[in-house]
């Protein structure tokens, strides 16, 4: 338990609950009603504040004793605006998939808040939580394991209606399912088929149709195309962009493919070992990165242009990502950073616009969690 008490220490610069208009609902009815209120385009729809998730490490069979914690997410704050796509990139183990599960309420947060339309969804239960589930949906990474092999396509896409019967009357469901199949570019006649009769790209479309069934406002996409063939990835990305326009969706797009993230995202956050290293618009992050980790990440991406390899400077990081069960003190990245100094071990850098860029309106003036943030031009993908 010793570790969880530390979770509260400020890790991000964003002040507590800054800019969140908290909606205090007195009854469940009010809460549900507030969740159905529309949000103006460009206004924040989802606001995450100091989100923490520690997985306890226990020893012993009968009497469990906590011996530590995997700090999968360790104090993250960001906003998602209505109608935008926020990309989240990072390497394996950085906590990006845990963020997705926290946002979906599939894992309980250790600390911190997630405000959806001003209500903290980490504290909701019962009808209000069910209403949130209707509005925030998810697309999974692996189209082979995310569809129940024993259910027909019609049952899979129709299941949301079974769980939330108020969305579609019973007699209308088959038609709705066929409509959804058509929307995602599948033949509506396939309604009685089973998942194993489809290719990976088609299965991902089925998963998207299921995610759309309840008319959600936010969709969390956890590596939605990384399991697909290159030639099929582009089809699915195009479909997702078209659906965003058609249904006025806000996306959180989690991926490790930096060029695809750049293509689809309005803003991008870079995660490293449970923390946000840098966040800004796609241009700020890709063209004017100020955090050394972002710079290394961008320069390491292989560029699909053989002419670039001869005159391209690459930053090759040494070593591996440290274990999230025992992360370095201060700045998480300092063990692999070429700029690291004593200060980095002692003081946690806050996610804020660096002091030196504060007064300038250059694109470098965006939030970056580095004591020595500076621009560095890196040749990179896309």
């Amino acid at each position: 338990m010793a570790d969880t008490t530390k979770a509260g220490e400020p890790t991000d610069a964003t002040p507590n609950v800054s800019g969140v208009q908290v909606v205090e609902a007195e009854s469940e009815e009010q809460a549900v009603a507030a969740l159905d209120e529309p949000v103006e385009r460009g206004e924040p729809i989802l606001q995450v504040r100091n989100l923490v998730k520690h997985f306890p490490l226990t020893q012993g069979i009968l009497i469990k004793r906590q011996v530590g914690a995997v700090k999968a997410v360790d104090g993250i704050s960001f906003d998602l605006y209505q109608g935008e796509t926020l990309g989240i990139v990072g390497e394996s183990g950085c906590g990006k998939s845990t963020v997705a599960k926290l946002l979906m309420n599939l894992e309980r947060a250790t600390a911190g808040e997630i405000f959806y339309k001003g209500q903290d969804i980490t504290k909701l239960s019962g009808r209000a939580l069910k209403a949130v589930r209707r509005n925030i949906q998810m697309i999974f990474q692996d189209p082979y394991t995310s569809l129940n092999p024993r259910m027909t396509v019609g049952d899979i896409i129709g299941e949301p209606f079974d769980i939330h019967p108020e969305v579609a009357p019973k007699g209308d469901r088959r038609r709705r399912v066929q409509e959804l199949l058509d929307v995602v570019g599948l033949n509506p006649e396939y309604i009685n088929r089973y998942p194993h009769q489809f290719s990976g790209g088609q299965r991902q479309r089925i998963g998207i149709a299921r995610g759309l069934a309840l008319n959600p406002e936010v969709i969390i996409c956890d590596e939605p195309v990384s399991a697909l063939d290159v030639s099929v990835q582009a089809q699915v990305i195009n479909l997702m962009e078209r659906l965003q326009d058609e249904f006025n969706l806000s996306y959180i797009f989690i991926a490790h493919d930096l060029s695809i993230v750049r293509h689809i995202s309005d803003r991008v956050g870079v995660m490293y070992l449970g923390r946000m290293a840098e966040i800004g618009t796609d241009e700020q992050i890709y063209e004017h990165p100020t955090h050394p980790y972002t710079q290394a990440l961008l320069s390491a991406v292989p560029v699909p242009d053989p002419d670039a390899r001869e005159h391209r400077e690459r930053i090759i990081l040494t070593g591996d990502v440290p274990s999230p069960a025992n992360p370095p003190s201060g700045c998480r990245f300092r063990t692999r950073c070429w700029k690291a100094q004593d200060k980095c071990a002692e003081e946690t850098p806050l996610l804020a616009i660096p002091e030196r860029f504060k007064s300038s309106d250059s694109p470098a003036a965006h939030e970056s969690a580095c004591h020595f943030a500076e621009e560095k031009d890196v040749v990179h993908a896309a």
Binding site: D142, S146, N148, P149, M151, I163, H164, R205, R210
Partner: protein
């Protein structure tokens, strides 16, 4: 780049529709995984052979009087003067030491063997399956408790367990024997069920259902249970044969079915002393037992090949 066309995927699908339509017919026939398995089963000669034998055995068990004019329970069925007479006209399998017709007893013994096999299998599947599912789904201390209880039961050797229960409960009919074997046999099904539930519990489609707001009931019965059935079906079919031979073994040792009930194991036990002089009294019931067990184990084998996704 001028030839770039950006189409809605619906149009792509339309272009492929023709080709896919041709596949449609073939696909419709073998829609589900279970039906896939069935289609595969039907093509296997071993399946047809074992199914034929089992159908005959079932007929014998349900209506033994159709296959023999005599009844082993009627007066005068056993004539001591016929004791140990070999096979002859009207008495195909000969007589045993009491002078009873072995053919009739073998036919009537089928019912007890099949009943013990089926009842034990159903009981073990229900007890083991239900508890296994609870342990897997709930986890935590429920799982720990049930797993420990299972270990206690599976640590009991069947012979000692059987002796123990029989010494308390001396009836020796099919129900007692089935009860003993079910008590000692369910841990196997429990372990398989629990393992399957746990491995399915963390699948993405279960997570997807939770994300939709599905309750535990729906997740258990709609998502997890159907995906655990194939291995349970396989083990159930194989167990039928195993339990039938276990019954014979218990009866042979005198801790299973007891006279006047008829059991192949009992018949074998009675005939063993005189095997050298009149082998027929042992060979016919033993042959019937072997054939039955073989048929069920063969069936279990082909069912596993057809249903186990790992074998595909």
């Amino acid at each position: 780049m001028s030839e770039k066309t950006i189409e809605r995927p619906t149009t792509d699908e339309a272009a492929l529709a023709k080709e896919l339509e041709a596949e449609e017919k073939a696909a419709a026939r073998q829609a589900s995984l279970l039906r896939d398995g069935w289609a595969d089963l039907r093509k296997r000669p071993l399946f047809i052979l074992s199914a034929l034998v089992i159908v005959c055995l079932l007929a014998l068990a349900i209506a033994p009087s159709l296959f023999t004019a005599r009844s082993p329970f009627s007066n005068g069925f056993c004539q001591l003067q016929n004791s140990m007479n070999g096979p002859g006209s009207g008495h195909l399998f000969g007589f045993d030491v009491q002078g009873c017709d072995i053919y009739t007893r073998t036919v009537y013994g089928t019912r007890n063997s099949i009943v013990v096999g089926v009842v034990t299998t159903i009981a073990t599947t229900l007890i083991g399956g239900l508890l296994g599912m609870l342990a897997g789904l709930i986890g935590g201390w429920v799982d720990m408790l049930l797993s420990r209880i299972t270990e206690v039961f599976s640590a009991l050797p069947i012979i000692i367990g059987g002796l123990l229960i029989m010494s308390i409960w001396r009836t020796g009919d099919v129900w007692t024997v089935s009860f003993i074997m079910a008590i000692l046999g369910w841990p196997q099904v429990f372990r398989i069920m629990r393992g399957e539930v746990i491995s399915n519990k963390y699948n993405d489609y279960v997570m997807a259902a939770r994300a939709l707001g599905a309750d535990s009931w729906r997740i258990a019965f709609r998502h997890i249970l159907p995906n655990t059935l194939a291995p349970v079906i396989v083990i159930t079919t194989m167990n039928l044969g195993v339990y039938i031979s276990a019954e014979a073994a218990l009866s042979y040792l005198g801790i299973g079915i007891q006279s006047p009930n008829i059991s192949w194991g009992l018949m074998i036990s009675d005939a063993q002393d005189r095997f050298l002089t009149s082998p027929h009294a042992l060979l016919f019931p033993a042959g019937a037992l072997s054939l039955t067990v073989l048929a069920f184990i063969m069936l279990g084998d082909v069912v596993r090949d057809a249903f186990d996704p790992k074998m595909r």
